[in-house]
């Protein structure tokens, strides 16, 4: 079941009053320059960053009254550099959240096998490998598999494909699109073309505030100077 996300008047050292509502099942991209507040806002959602003022609600329940550990176990998190556990095999990495949730080993193996097939890295071939023996693109795929294996209700992605070469990047964007299950997705990127490829809605951040919030299709036509700068930089058809 996808969750709704509400951010209400949040201030902290970086954010200058962020308000945002995301419906269950939406796929939203946060774009903006480095330091604009997009990653900080993303990290509000799973409680890695706490608001100094304001509140965050998941399914209308304030985070302050939520068991954060339980919330994180049903929230997928994909980051740049994958963050795979280097001392665990691919299988053990993918099995992390199911094990935390206390699934039976049979159920874990079935789910891992299915998700590894979906990222085109069959478990029989890759399960026993260690992350160090994989390419950057493969590590990132395993990172995606680890994040979605337990069917999260929210999927948070922080520049997941940022460090990869353009071809692998494009491949992973396609993989990601195909995988978009029924989770609510928040995707941080500084690449507008990527944002428009993976999300239905684009939110532009600048100096800790939201500059625009529109559908991906409307975004390039918004008559806002910063939007036009981004569109020009991404050389998209306006």
């Amino acid at each position: 079941m996808p969750s709704s996300i509400t951010v209400r008047e949040v201030f902290n050292a970086i954010l200058q009053g962020i308000s945002l509502h995301i419906d269950p099942g939406e796929a939203v991209a946060f774009v903006g320059r480095s330091g604009a507040g997009k990653t900080t806002t993303l990290r509000l959602i799973n409680g890695l960053v706490k608001p100094a003022r304001g509140e965050v609600l998941i399914d209308d329940v304030p985070l302050a009254r939520t068991d954060l550990v339980a919330l994180r176990r049903r929230t997928g998190y994909i980051i740049q550099g994958s963050g795979l556990f280097p001392h665990r095999t691919v299988y053990d990495n993918v099995a992390t959240v199911p094990r935390l949730l206390g699934w039976s080993e049979d159920r874990i193996r079935a789910a891992a096998s299915e998700v590894m097939t979906r990222i085109a890295m069959p478990l029989e071939k890759f399960g026993a490998r260690y992350p160090r023996s994989l390419s950057g693109g493969e590590q990132q795929r395993v990172g995606i598999a680890r994040a979605i294996v337990a069917n999260p209700s929210i999927l948070l992605c922080d520049e997941p494909f940022g460090a990869l070469d353009p071809i692998v990047r494009r491949e992973l964007q396609e993989t990601f699109r195909a995988l978009r299950s029924d989770a609510t997705i928040v995707f941080v990127t500084h690449d507008l073309a990527e944002a428009m490829r993976v999300a239905d809605r684009v939110v532009l951040f600048e100096d800790g505030a939201i500059v625009s919030d529109s559908t991906s299709l409307e975004f390039p036509r918004l008559q806002i100077p910063l939007v036009q700068q981004f569109v020009a930089a991404a050389s998209l058809p306006a």
């Binding site: 890695l48 998190y77 980051i79 963050g83 280097p86 001392h87 959240v97």
Partner: protein
């Protein structure tokens, strides 16, 4: 004579093993504590750093008059060795955990590991090569320093060396010096192998 050498060598090993064992039990939690409380951690590291700079014979000298732990004998030797062994173990635990890739730690938290699970399932396993290196350094230093413990009646292979020096008997000196050197080399090699085994993937 061979029997005597074996007995004293075993005694030497025992002194070092007890001291390093206690230092491991105290040092690893202390190292973990230092990563959780950076300010207190800096003070703790400073203090054991300072202990480390005290020359070993002087440290034995300081400990002798201390009630309960001091005096002439093996106990003083063991206490001094524990103090020496602490630094590499605490420091390497601290450095090992601090050296864990922040992205990996972040991922662990975001996946829903509790702080205890993060410590035992991610941070400590990844810090293990560094911690074992600390234990290796502590052991090698301990084997060396323990030879000096004979000066305060601590027993061990130093007994032969000091007696040999007093009697101008080279064979007696070597009966202490050779096993001590061999022990240090063996410990270094064995623990280096363990250390490498700890690096997975």
């Amino acid at each position: 004579m061979i029997g005597e050498i074996l007995r004293i060598t075993a005694e030497h090993v025992l002194i070092v093993a007890i001291a390093v064992g206690v230092a491991v039990v105290l040092g690893i939690p202390l190292g973990i504590y230092c990563t959780r409380n950076p300010r207190a951690g800096r003070v703790a590291l400073r203090v054991i750093d300072t202990i480390q700079t005290i020359p070993s014979l002087a440290l034995f000298g300081f400990l002798i008059p201390v009630p309960f732990i001091g005096g002439i004998g093996m106990r003083t030797a063991i206490v001094a060795l524990i103090l020496y062994s602490l630094l590499p173990i605490v420091r390497n635990t601290f450095v090992g955990i601090r050296g864990v890739d922040p992205v990996v730690r972040d991922a662990g938290v975001a996946l829903g590991l509790t702080s205890r699970q993060l410590l035992f399932d991610v941070e400590l396993p990844l810090a293990m090569p560094s911690i074992v290196a600390g234990i290796r350094i502590a052991t090698v230093i301990g084997i060396g320093v323990a030879t000096i413990a004979a000066a305060v009646g601590g027993g061990g292979l130093g007994t032969f060396i000091f007696r040999g020096v007093a009697m101008v008997d080279t064979r007696l000196i070597l009966a202490g010096a050779l096993p001590a050197a061999a022990l240090a080399l063996i410990a270094d090699v064995v623990l280096s192998v363990v250390e490498r085994r700890m690096i997975k993937g």
